[in-house]
């Protein structure tokens, strides 16, 4: 196949298109692009469901006192908001992007295990139907926090086993998704696509996938133990039977901390592709990015107890977890440095993907700094369970992970739809989001430092002003998000035709196929010259 280099110019991949029937195309499909689209739509729906719950929370907190909901329902909202956003929005969005982009980027015709791919997607709607249906049980939805600490979580009535089964299903789905990513990257790369020629999105996803198969089962184990404690009289965590509730926290956070990196590592990958594209320079320090991602992945396994400093731990343990936590800031710093160095003296332009990526760079770093403050044991004794923690993780998750997802969507949307989108509307979306996200979350730092606890429906009047500001930010942010589905819809329907390489500075094999990407791509693998031409380092 010597002549197969530029599929983009030949279009021979398009010899058979998408199936016509809805059932074939969207239900039993094994096409990585369709499944990617399904995942992204699902994530979008859950983003708005979770967002609605957040608005219930912020409406109640607009003023001190109880106005709209009763405290139990409020607690259900904080619990369900977190579960919906983490497991329903951010994770499926990353799996969706992986489905769409990884085969395109490594020169493979599809994911390695297409039928399992279909299965792992279709588990998700069922898992979330089950989880959301707990809202309608007599006992109400789970209200003990997304961390499901016993003994509180055991008191959830009917919703408790339902939530646990839902978590089992999501876990199974993410493990299958992760296995698929690893097998695709390990076995399906086009000849000549060496590991160090892969775009960083593939690299960070590969590491994420390993984290997933190592820790999702641990979460499954932890919640299974909750289940048997509740129904079968075991006492893993029940003090009455010789167990220890603190042990649950250890097991949970052994999952939980790597989980937060599962949410953010793919974001590092996306940003590492967008910043060079709009700086018109190769990524600074490609290999150091790979090593930094791998060390973050490794370190994430040995820092979990920073979530439990106040639970009680020997001094040596506190020191260990404090220092390893701080150590994570080193590879993270390397990344921030490399992104900045990539922009340095680049010929920058600020299209929507770049705007989101740059905002990510600044705002994620703020979240990293508050994380460092939290890692200092004596300081954390003060901050633990306060709004400061809420501010920290929302900075890393919203203008962090979610901005990166949006950056990725704005970056690849022309490739998916074949159309350019409404740039000025996207910029509106960006500026409104960026302003309101700070109005929403920055004051929460102040509230936390002043002593406002998290997960409460009412608060003392001294916290009133900043809560009001934060709630205004929340409604502003939430409403601004409606622009995005509208914009995507518009772009799918029509618009200026996108070139194969929609952004002049972009690199990667995905830009070597036409836009919209044909239903089947890379059935003939790209040749080595194409691969080298498209690789992030150019060699």
């Amino acid at each position: 196949m010597a002549n197969s280099g530029h599929a983009a110019h030949e279009g021979h991949d398009d010899h058979h298109g998408a199936p016509k029937s809805f059932w074939q195309r969207w239900v039993v499909t094994t096409n990585h692009k369709d499944i990617g689209t399904l995942y992204l739509i699902f994530a979008g729906v859950m983003f708005f469901v979770g967002g609605l719950m957040a608005l219930v929370i912020r409406a109640e907190l607009f003023q001190p006192g109880l106005q709209f909901v009763d405290p139990m329902f409020f607690n259900s909202m904080t619990t369900m908001h977190a579960l919906a956003m983490i497991f329903g929005a951010v994770m499926p969005a990353w799996v969706g992007l992986a489905n769409w982009m990884i085969p395109l980027q490594v020169g493979a015709p599809d994911m390695a295990l297409p039928r399992m791919n279909n299965f792992s997607f279709w588990i998700m709607p069922f898992a979330f139907t089950l989880l959301l249906s707990t809202l309608f049980t007599g006992s109400g939805a789970p209200a003990g926090g997304w961390t499901l600490y016993p003994p509180l979580s055991l008191q959830g009535g009917d919703s408790f086993p339902m939530a646990i089964f839902a978590i089992h299903m999501m876990g199974a789905s993410s493990i299958m998704g992760a296995i698929n990513v690893i097998v695709t990257i390990m076995n399906m790369r086009a000849p000549g696509m060496t590991l160090l020629r892969m775009p960083l999105f593939c690299w960070t996803w590969l590491i994420t996938a390993y984290l997933l198969i190592l820790v999702m089962p641990v979460l499954a184990g932890a919640v299974t133990m909750l289940l048997t404690d509740h129904f079968f009289g075991t006492s893993f965590f029940s003090a009455a039977g010789g167990g220890d509730p603190v042990m649950y926290q250890h097991i949970f956070w052994f999952f939980g901390h790597p989980e937060v990196y599962i949410l953010i590592l793919p974001a590092f990958g996306v940003v590492s592709e967008i910043i060079p594209a709009f700086s018109r320079k190769p990524l600074f320090g490609y290999e150091s990015m790979v090593y930094a991602s791998a060390s973050i992945g490794f370190l994430s396994f040995i820092v979990w107890a920073h979530h439990m400093f106040t639970v009680g731990m020997p001094l040596a343990g506190q020191l260990f977890f404090m220092l390893t936590t701080m150590l994570i800031a080193v590879p993270t710093g390397v990344k921030v440095f490399n992104w900045s160095a990539t922009m340095w003296k680049g010929s920058l332009s600020f299209e929507p993907p770049m705007l989101f990526a740059v905002a990510f760079l600044f705002l994620f770093t703020i979240g990293g700094f508050s994380g460092l403050m939290l890692s200092i044991v004596p300081a954390d004794f003060q901050y633990q369970d306060s709004y400061f923690v809420v501010a920290h993780f929302h900075y890393v998750l919203v203008p962090g992970a979610i901005f990166a997802i949006m950056a990725g969507i704005y970056y690849w949307l022309p490739k998916w739809s074949g159309h350019m989108y409404n740039m000025s509307l996207a910029k509106w979306h960006f500026w409104l989001s960026t302003i309101f996200v700070n109005v929403l979350f920055f004051p929460q730092h102040f509230l936390g430092l002043a002593g406002m606890p998290r997960r409460i429906p009412d608060y003392s009047v001294q916290f009133a002003d900043w809560n009001m500001v934060s709630s205004i930010g929340a409604f502003g942010f939430g409403l601004s998000q409606l622009l995005m589905p509208y914009l995507v819809w518009q772009c799918v329907r029509g618009g200026a035709a996108a070139k194969a390489k929609a952004w002049e500075g972009a690199r990667g094999l995905e830009w070597e196929v036409p836009s919209p990407a044909p239903y089947h791509t890379w059935e003939t693998a790209p040749d080595e010259a194409t691969i080298i031409h498209a690789s992030p380092t150019g060699h």
Partner: protein, 183 residues
């Protein structure tokens, strides 16, 4: 045009291996339970064994020192039991044997067993706090409505570090026959 450089057979093999890793990780989650106890045993932290086992009586009084021992009685849920120390605190000399009483009353309206789970704070003091006899060593039978005072005998080890002059002995009193959801 169906030249494929890939070996689909090897997909299944790698996927199976990764599946095995996931299964191993599931097992590891459970293995953390005994590992956690091993950690506690090795570091001496929490010292669960020491807290729930009878110590030998060996009095070596050191009357030059006084330590305040405070008592706390906790219930995991409100309403179905009463549980409190008979006195809130006593002054003790290390090396001497003392007795304290905790009073429980069964309001559940049925015959049942209660089990007290001890905790000593600060945790460093736990290994210097020896109970020679304790109602917490075994489940306690309570008839419906019964109220009873239960004894604990203890010696504070004279080796207790000098800077410690306060020890808190806390019990949480569980109804062992209540369903897990209510514990």
């Amino acid at each position: 045009m169906s030249q494929t450089p890939y070996k689909p057979n090897s997909h299944g093999r790698l996927a199976l291996k990764l599946g095995a890793v996931a299964l191993g990780a599931f097992g590891f989650g459970f293995a953390l339970v005994p590992l956690y106890d091993v950690m506690c045993a090795v570091t001496g932290f929490g010292n669960k064994a020491n807290l729930t086992r009878a110590a030998k009586i060996a009095e070596h009084p050191d009357d030059s020192r006084t330590v305040t021992v405070e008592f706390l009685g906790d219930l995991p849920t409100v309403g179905s039991w009463e549980f409190r120390p008979a006195v809130r605190s006593i002054q003790v000399h290390p090396g001497r044997l003392y007795e304290a009483k905790f009073v429980a009353r069964n309001l559940t309206g049925r015959d049942t067993y209660g089990q007290a789970v001890p905790d000593v704070a600060p945790s460093k003091a736990a290994s210097f706090f020896h109970k020679t006899e304790c109602f917490c060593f075994t489940p306690q039978h309570f008839a419906s409505g019964e109220e009873r005072a239960m004894p604990v005998r203890f010696i504070v080890d004279p080796a207790l570090p000098r800077y410690m002059d306060h020890i808190t002995l806390a019990y949480t009193f569980y109804d062992t026959q209540a369903p897990a959801a209510q514990r």
